[in-house]
């Protein structure tokens, strides 16, 4: 029993890792751009297909392919900023609708390029860290966990300790006042889109060998990410991380001990509960909700 608990805990940490990478990117984009990026799940999907094309297709070394995936999806983010969100700057609903259109384009491109079937990706490593007979962590999952810890810490440092990080937060909190300090809102929007999209891309790239890669894989990811950012408090990065961990724990444990459908129900019920008790989310403040 203890083994099962420990194993489920490890699984939850893995789930929390890629969920928080996706959710934090979504929150960052929402904070700075004021747009809910519905295409965020497809950015995750695009990262996974970068691995399909480069690692599975062209035999590029895995980590090089992951880095390329990060850059590629980051650039997709820049494209979205320039082509969709900047022209629709004064129209947040327009930005949202445009991102839904972009989601469909990305899905269609994935279908055209790779077909609708699930793609098989050869495992990156078969190595497993065995804590005991029954408690085992595949190294491929460990990569995702390490990436989440390193990237989110780096993001934290960037936002709290560097000038451009302050500029990003200032633009998120009051774009007009930020411009009065000499901050170019277009520039901070670009930075936010690149980082936010890149985080989704790297999450997709690193998990690609571990999940079934298909053009619609972004769907469940974004639903989870939405739940997480609502529970955490829209606009709060801390909230997104804490809620990712909490959601992953609950979801993984319920899935393991009961079943997956019940886990979805429990997850959504928790979201409702949080919204009833604290409508701004765990870390949200009233003035920014």
């Amino acid at each position: 029993m203890l083994d099962l608990l420990a194993q489920t805990g490890l699984n939850a940490v893995y789930a929390a890792s890629y969920i928080s990478l996706v959710a934090v990117g979504l929150v960052l984009i929402f904070g700075v751009m004021g747009v809910i990026n519905f295409a965020h799940g497809e950015l995750f999907m695009a990262g996974a297909y970068a691995i399909v094309a480069l690692y599975a297709g062209l035999n590029v070394p895995f980590f090089l392919a992951v880095a390329a995936g990060l850059l590629f999806v980051g650039c997709l983010g820049l494209l979205m900023e320039k082509a969709l969100f900047r022209p629709l700057k004064d129209n947040p609903l327009g930005g949202l609708v445009a991102s839904i259109g972009f989601l469909m384009i990305l899905q269609a491109l994935a279908v055209m390029g790779f077909g609708v079937r699930m793609v098989h990706i050869p495992p990156v490593t078969q190595e497993v860290i065995a804590f005991s007979e029954k408690v085992r962590l595949p190294v491929a999952r460990l990569y995702v966990i390490i990436a989440a810890i390193v990237l989110l810490s780096a993001l934290w440092y960037f936002l709290k300790r560097t000038k451009f990080g302050w500029a990003l937060r200032a633009s998120a909190q009051d774009p007009e006042a930020a411009a009065l300090q000499g901050i170019s809102i277009t520039q901070t929007a670009r930075i936010a889109m690149f980082i936010g999209a890149g985080l989704a891309g790297i999450a997709g790239a690193l998990t690609a060998p571990l999940v079934s890669v298909n053009p619609h894989m972004g769907h469940s990811v974004i639903v989870t990410a939405f739940i997480v950012i609502i529970v955490g408090g829209v606009g709060s990065l801390e909230g997104a991380i804490v809620a990712s961990v909490a959601y992953a724990l609950v979801h993984t444990f319920v899935t393991t001990f009961w079943d997956g459908v019940l886990a979805d129900i429990v997850g959504l019920s928790l979201m409702l509960l949080v919204l009833i008790v604290k409508p701004t989310g765990l870390f949200g403040s009233a003035d920014r909700a």
Partner: protein, 235 residues
């Protein structure tokens, strides 16, 4: 003239917010713009700092055209704007707010020295340096907004309603600060609802009425003017 605004018009959609306004700010002086609600005071100030596009006229600062520059480029030319309602960054600490004011500067040592100056001028900000800005009182937030503007090392400071919503004691404190800052050589454009305070502080004043300049003159002269006394000083 440090700053010169000639025959400026600004439209909001089809509505003329200001029609034909000229303002000149001499080096080292305090110039105030007073007038009732909706007269165009804030619009005039926002046009100066590039936050609103002008539809006619021209603005020069130190002899250089600055109209058509976006707000973040106007700051680079040496104009800092303390906006109406203070607009500090609520979820950033006091120190982060101040350092963000120095965003465009690269002179690290001078930034540290200026931060020290701001802390000397506003000891309350030093005490609260690691506190989130939103947790401070209105007066403290106003001081933070002024401090943040000073951190850009401006040659002209635009202030929009610094007295708004503050207790009389605090207003007095803010007024003193404006005088001190100006005494140190910084030119100021002050937009105020509180005409009494504004005319007391300023060297020169403009009175706006419905988007036009109704009157201008040395502040003490306007203070004695019958119309101004009746319309804006409630005397």
């Amino acid at each position: 003239m440090l700053l010169e605004m000639k025959n400026i018009a600004v439209n909001y959609g089809k509505i003329n917010a200001i029609r034909n306004i000229s303002v000149a700010v001499p080096e080292g002086k305090i110039v105030t713009i007073i007038g009732g609600n909706g007269a165009g005071k804030t619009t005039t100030l926002r046009a100066m700092s590039g936050m609103l596009p002008i539809t006619a006229g021209e603005i020069t600062f130190e002899g250089k055209r600055i109209d058509h520059l976006p707000a973040h480029k106007v700051v680079a030319n040496g104009i800092a704007h303390v906006p109406e309602g203070r607009r500090i960054f609520p979820d950033m600490t006091v120190e982060e707010n101040l350092r963000t004011g120095a965003f465009l500067r690269k002179d690290k040592e001078a930034i540290e020295a200026d931060l020290e100056d701001v802390f000397k001028r506003f000891p309350r900000l030093r005490e609260r340096r690691t506190q989130m800005a939103k947790t401070m009182s209105g007066g403290e937030q106003q001081m933070l907004a002024i401090g943040r503007a000073l951190m850009s090392k401006p040659r002209l400071l635009l202030m929009d309603e610094p007295s708004m919503g503050l207790a009389p004691v605090i207003v007095e404190e803010i007024a003193q600060i404006v005088e001190e800052i100006n005494a140190n050589g910084l030119s100021v454009v002050l937009v105020e609802q509180n005409a009494e305070l504004a005319l007391e502080l300023a060297d020169y004043a403009y009175v706006l009425e419905t988007g036009n300049a109704a009157m201008e003159g040395p502040a003490d002269e306007l203070h004695g003017n019958e119309h101004v006394r009746a319309a804006y000083l409630g005397l």
